[in-house]
């Protein structure tokens, strides 16, 4: 599972829908891998306003690396050198870092979503739907 996906996932359990703790899901026992993906600056600049930066900082610290505490902002329409560096960094973190094995845990109800071969299991038992 890419960090990009993790930044959009929240707990699907019914009672957690209204709880602010259900996002982000917390990584446990994560095993990381890096996979090269074509670099797409336009997509990243599109995504940047939608990213929840605090959640991203939390998940990356759980995986053992640090990001700047505030969300980087792009300077202008045209991508300059500084922006290019920011986007490259984002690309590496969001697109190329993958959690191959591990768990994601909801901060509200404690439900554990398994990750196996980088596929997250979001099937819920019927009493939680």
């Amino acid at each position: 599972m890419k960090l990009l996906t993790a930044n959009f996932l929240s707990c699907a359990v019914k009672s957690c829908k209204s709880s602010p703790l259900s996002f982000p899901l917390h990584f446990r026992d994560a095993e990381l891998a890096s996979k090269s993906v074509p670099y797409n600056p336009l997509l990243l600049s599109n995504l940047l306003p939608r990213l929840d930066w605090t959640a991203l900082v939390t998940s990356s610290s759980e995986l053992g690396f640090t990001l700047p505490a505030t969300k980087p902002l792009l300077q202008s329409e045209n991508i300059g050198e500084e922006d290019e560096n920011t986007l490259k960094m984002l690309h590496k973190v969001l697109m190329e870092t993958e959690v191959v094995e591990g768990k994601m845990v909801c901060g509200s109800c404690g439900f554990e979503y398994g990750i196996h071969q980088s596929v997250g299991n979001f099937l819920l038992p019927s009493h939680l739907v």
């Binding site: 996906t5 959009f8 929240s10 074509p38 797409n40 979001f122 099937l123």
Partner: protein, 273 residues
Amino acid sequence: MSRPEDNLPPDLFYNETESRKYTTSSRIQNIQAIMTNRALELLGLETPSLILDIGCGSGLSGEILSEADPPHTWIGMDISPSMLAVALDREVDGDLLLGDMGQGLPFRAGSFDAAISISAIQWLCNEDEKGVDPKTRLSRFFDSLYACLKRDGKAVCQFYPRDDKQRDMICSAAIKAGFGAGLLEDDPETKNKKLYLVLTVGGEGNKDITGVVRNMDGVDVYDARKKLLAKAKGDAKHGTKAWIMKKKETDRRKGKVVKSDSKYTGRKRGIKF
């Protein structure tokens, strides 16, 4: 022709053999490619976007999204582990999730630019287990889809309804969730007819669903809303003479005792001192 939906639930039907058969069949690959391209055309995305693929299976449609111009990034969700295993073997670009769309999509609000679903949502109408209600599953699915799309977002779902009843059930669930909805039918009246449910999330440029197909060739627009509007206009206004006459007529047909019509029927009474 038998429908796979009538045999087994999707996670059991698409087992290892069936998944492999589905993915390697050149006929299915071809049809999937045509449908995905059509869906992309309907979405009309101009910039690289983040797309949710619901019922992504082995990633046949996802591959087309990755190779499209501009290339899109996608996140796929499917209920069949075997299908996802095939997708992993094929090393698709998108991120994969194992999940049931009828349980609601586990994404926070405003996550995606667009969503596509190829030949999947008719599975929601199945009643495989006891206590499973297709209506609840449909509304959970469409409600969560509405929430996880950003404003101005669009979704295109190609599906194979069993009959008109099922088609209407799916459409009304989508409208109830708040979508602007329209149905596009390719190759109508033939064996190969394909239904696309086009959904828009409110916003400035998205108010009218017919705008989606405005610039497309060979599409006839049939607007059911206009007919409804005309019908509402045709109804006589409450309290007018025409309305009274109509009411008397229906009562007469029911066999009730109704006063005969005269020049005084429905006329205003004069002011009494």
